[in-house]
Symmetry: D2
Subunit: 305 residues, 4 copies
C-alpha cells in the first residue's frame, strides 16, 4: 500500500497546478498550493501515509460531516424536519434557494446554509456548549486530543464571513431557526478552523467505514443507521455541485473543504484523508480528486461496482 500511495501521489502532484488557493478567507491563501498528501486507515486500524502528511490544515467544510453525524446520532431523523437532503446545482455558498424553495429550509446539510442550520438546530437543544460537544466528538473519532482551533484562521473567518452571516440572518429572518445568530456563526467558524492532518481525516472516515465503531476500543460512537444516512448524503451532496461528476469518476462517499482536505469512506474497508490546497472552480481540491480517482480505479473502490 505504501508503494501504491507514493506512486499515486507522485503522478497526481502535477494536478496541484490545475487549481488555486481559496482566497476569500485571507488566511487560507497562505497555504502551500503544491502540497499533496494522503492517509489510508484500513479495517484493522492500520494507517498508511504518503506525500506531505505532516502539513497541517484547517478542516473547513469537512467538519460538516462531524456536525451531521452528531445531529443524526443525538436527534435522529427529526433533523430532516429542518434541513433537506437534496443536491443543488447552485454554488456551495448560494443563498438563492433559501428564498425560492422550502421557505428557508436549506437543501442539504453539506452546503454552507445547511451546515449553519444544523448547528442552529443543535444549539437550540444544547446552548452555548455546542462547540465544545462537537469538537470533543470530533477528537474522539480522530483519536487525537491535540486537535485545536487555529486562532489565525478563526479570526480570519470571523472577519470575512459576511456571506455566511447573510445565510444565517436570512434563515433567522424567515424563522428557520431560533438560536442566536452570533452563537451559531461562532460555532460554525470555530468548527471550520479546527486544524488537522490527513491522518485525522482518515481516522474519522474509518469510524464511518466501520459503521460507527472505533476499531481500537470497540466503542460504538454512533449507530449503523446514522452511518448509512451520512454516507448516502456524502455521495449525493458531498462535493458541492460536482458531486455527480465525482460519483461517476471516483464513486467513494466523500466530503471536501476549502482548506484542501477531502474525507472519504470506502464502506467496510477504508477511511481516507487527502490534502491538496489548490482548489478547482467548484471549491474542491484539484489534485485530491485526481489522487482519489487513480486510487479508486486501481483498487476498485467505487461503491457503484
Amino acid at each position: 500500500m505504501k508503494a501504491t500511495l507514493d506512486r499515486i501521489v507522485a503522478t497526481s502532484r502535477t494536478y496541484t497546478q490545475n487549481g488555486t488557493l481559496a482566497n476569500y478567507i485571507p488566511e487560507l491563501a497562505k497555504a502551500n498550493p503544491n502540497a499533496l498528501a494522503i492517509c489510508i486507515c484500513d479495517h484493522t486500524g492500520n494507517c498508511t501515509q504518503a506525500g506531505d502528511f505532516n502539513t497541517a490544515f484547517t478542516i473547513q467544510s469537512v467538519s460538516k460531516i462531524v456536525t451531521l453525524l452528531y445531529a443524526f446520532e443525538a436527534y435522529g431523523e427529526d433533523v430532516f424536519s429542518r434541513i433537506g437532503v437534496e443536491q443543488t446545482a447552485d454554488a456551495f455558498n448560494s443563498i438563492i434557494k433559501l428564498e425560492t424553495r422550502n421557505h428557508g429550509k436549506p437543501l442539504n446539510p453539506l452546503i454552507n446554509a445547511g451546515a449553519i442550520a444544523t448547528i442552529a438546530y443543535i444549539a437550540e437543544h444544547e446552548g452555548k456548549g455546542t462547540f465544545r460537544k462537537l469538537s470533543t466528538f470530533l477528537r474522539k473519532m480522530a483519536q487525537n486530543e491535540s486537535i485545536h482551533v487555529n486562532q489565525d484562521v478563526y479570526a480570519s473567518e470571523k472577519r470575512t464571513g459576511d456571506i455566511n452571516r447573510a445565510l444565517a440572518y436570512f434563515q433567522k429572518g424567515v424563522s428557520s431557526f431560533s438560536a442566536p445568530v452570533e452563537i451559531v456563526l461562532d460555532t460554525y467558524f470555530q468548527m471550520c478552523s479546527l486544524e488537522v492532518h490527513v491522518k485525522d481525516l482518515a481516522r474519522i472516515a474509518q469510524v464511518l467505514a466501520n459503521n460507527g465503531v472505533l476499531i481500537e476500543s470497540g466503542e460504538r460512537l454512533f449507530s449503523e443507521k446514522t452511518a448509512m444516512m451520512t454516507k448516502s448524503i456524502m455521495t449525493t451532496c458531498g462535493m458541492y455541485d460536482s458531486s455527480g461528476h465525482f460519483a461517476v469518476t471516483v464513486g467513494i462517499p466523500s466530503k471536501s473543504g476549502v482548506g484542501g482536505g477531502i474525507l472519504s469512506v470506502v464502506p467496510g474497508q477504508y477511511g481516507i484523508g487527502t490534502l491538496g490546497p489548490a482548489l478547482d472552480e467548484k471549491g474542491n481540491s484539484a489534485a485530491g480528486i485526481e489522487l482519489l480517482s487513480q486510487l479508486s480505479n486501481e483498487l476498485h473502490l467505487s461503491i457503484f461496482r
Copy 2:
C-alpha cells in the same frame, strides 16, 4: 379641492378592507387598519387635507426617496456606479438578484437592497453623521423640525430586521460596499422609523414637483436634474413589483412604505401624501392606491396623458 378630497376618501375607505397590516415588524401591526388620509400641497404652497390626517405613522420605505435625493445631489451620477436603476419582478426584500446579477450591485435604489447600498455609499463619504444629515435634509424638505424617530418602531426594526441584515451582509461579502454593516443598518432602521403625517409627505413631494425649490423661501434644495432622475425612478420602481400596474392605472411618480404611506409627485403641480396602513400583497397601501387612482382619473393627473 377640499370637497373632492373628502368625497374620494369616503368612497375609497372601503378598500382599507382589501389589505392587511404589515406584521413582520411587530410594532406596525398596532396601527389602525381602517385609517385613510390624504394631503395635497399645490404650487402656491397651499395644502388641503382630508380623512385621518392627524394620524402619525412611520415613513418606512418612503424615506428611500429622501436618501436617493441626498445621494444624487451630493454625488451625482456616480451613484449609478454602485446601484442600478432597473425594476425587478422580485419582491421588495428579495436577495436573489444580488447573487445572480451584476455581482452584488442592487437593481435599483427603491428596493431594500438598493436603499441599504445607497446609505452605505453615503456613509463611506460622510461617516457616522449620515443619519443626522439625512434626517436634517428630510426635515428641511418637510419644513417640520418636529419630525423624530419613533423609538418603539426603531427598536422593533432592529430586533426583527434579519432579512435586511442578510441583504447588507451579502453585499458586504461580495465587496459591494466597505462601510461598516452595523452603521449602515442602524441608519437604515432609523430612517425607516421617522414618524410623519400625510402633510409631511405632501410637502416633501411638493419640493420634487417644484424641481427642487422650496416654495415658501425660494431656496433650492436640489437641482432640476436630481429631481428628474428621482421622478423617473419613482415611476419605474417606486411601487415595488407593481410599479408597472400603478403606472398604467394611476400614472403619478410615487413611493410607498409598509407603514401605509405613499408620497406622490405631479410634476409642476402637486405634492401628495396619503396614509392607509392596510397593505396589499405587494406591500403597498391598498386604499391609498385606490384613492390615488380616483384622484388621478378625476383631475387628469397621469403623466402619460
Copy 3:
C-alpha cells in the same frame, strides 16, 4: 428643427461603433452597422428627417406596440387577465419567469413571451385573419399602404426562431393560451418582418402622441385610455432590461427593436422614429439611444420634467 436633427445625427454617429448587429437572425447581420437616421412628426403632421432616412429596416419588436394597441382597443383591460405589466430584470427573450412566476403569465407585453401571448390572445378571438388585421392597423397608423413583409427576413426568422418557439410551446404547455402555436408564431414572425422607414415609426408614434387621433383626417384609431396605457407600459418596459436607465437619461416613452429601430412618443407633441442597427448588449440601438438622449436634453422632452 432640420438643422438640429442634422447636427445631432452627426454628433451621435460615432456611437454606432459602440454596438454590434443582431446576429441571431442571420438576415439582420446584413444591415449597415453605421446607418443612423431620425424622423420627427409634430402635432401639425409636419415631419422632419435627417441621416439615412431612406434606409429600410424590419420593424422587429417595435411591432409589439402595434399589437398591444390593437389588443387594448379591441378587448380593453381584459388583456391584463393574460399578460402582466411589470418590468423584468431578465433578458428580452428569457423563459425563466414563465416557470417561476404567475403560472406562465408573461410579465409584460413588450418582451417576447408577452408579445407572443398577446398575439395568441388576439388569435383566439380573430383566428387566421390576425396578421392581416394587425398589419392593416399598422399601415393605417403609418399612413403607408406600401409597408410589406420582407420575405428574406421572414424566412430567416422562421428558420432560426427556436427560442421563440420554446417561449410559445412553454406557454401552451402550461395552458396559458389555446391558439395553435404555429399560427401564433407565424403571425409573430410576420409582424417582426414588416419593412419600414423611420418616417413610418414617427407617424405611428405621432398617433400615440395625439392620443389616438390621425392628424390629417381627424379619424380616431384608438381611445385616449388605450393611448395612456400603452405610453405607460412603453415607459416602464419598452427598452427591455434597460428601461429604467432609459427613463432616467431620456425620459420619452419608447420601444426598440433588434432591427435597430426605436419608436418614441412625446405626449401631445412629437412622434419620433430612429434607426441605428448596431445594438448594445441589451438589444437596443446604441446610437439611437444617444441620439434620443441628446434630443431630449436639448428640446426638454422628458416626461419627468
Copy 4:
C-alpha cells in the same frame, strides 16, 4: 423470496392512496391507481413476482436509462461534452437551468431536458434509425421481443408534449444540438410510450446488476465502465429532486417514470422492477418507493451499508 414479496406488497398497498395518477398525459390518467407489483431477478436469472405483475404500463422516464446506456456504450465519455451529471433541485421538466447554467447544457441525462439532449446526440450520429436502435437494445436487455409502442399513449404524448417541445426548441435555439427537433421529440415520445411489465424492468436492471452481461447467454451488452457510470448517475439523479431522500431511505440505484414504474439495481445481486401508478408530488411512484424501502431494510440492500 416469494413470501417476502407478497407480504411487502400487502403492507405497501395502502401507500397507493398517498399519490395521484399523472394527468398531464391524458392517457396515463386511465391507469388503475391502486395497482402495485414487483419483480426481482437474481444473479442466476431466476425471477420472482408479486402483486399485479400482469398489469402493463408505459415505461416513460425509465427509458432514459436505456438511452443513456446506449449513448455511453456507443460514444463513451464524450457524452459528457453535451450533458452534465449533476443533480438539480428543480423539477423534472424544469427549463430554468437551460437558461441560467452551462449555456444550454442540461444538468443531467435523467431529467427531461437531458434525455432529449441525449437522444439528439445519438440522432446526430445515427439519424432516423435512432428509435429502432434504442428499442432493439431495450428489447434485448429485457429479453422480450414483444415490447412495443402503446399507440394511444404515444398519440397522447405527441398531442400534449408542449413543455418537452419547449425544452427541445430552447436547446436547439442556443445551439446545444443540431439534430432536427421533430425527429428528436418523436424518438423521445416513442421511447416513453413503450409498454412493459415489471418483469421487463427487472430483467433490464439485472443486466446492470451484472455489469453488462446477459446471464442466460453470457453475452456482454455493455462494458463494466458503462454500467458503473450509469449506476452512479441513477443514485445521484434517478429519482428527480428527491434522489437524495431516496438514497438516504432506500439506497438502491433506481430510475422512476410517471407511468408508475421504477427500475432498481442492487449491484452484483438483483434487478428489480416495480409498478405503482399513483405518484407523489415529485413524480415518483408513492407505493413503489414504500415497497422498495421495506425491501431494502429487510434484505439489507442499500449500497451505503
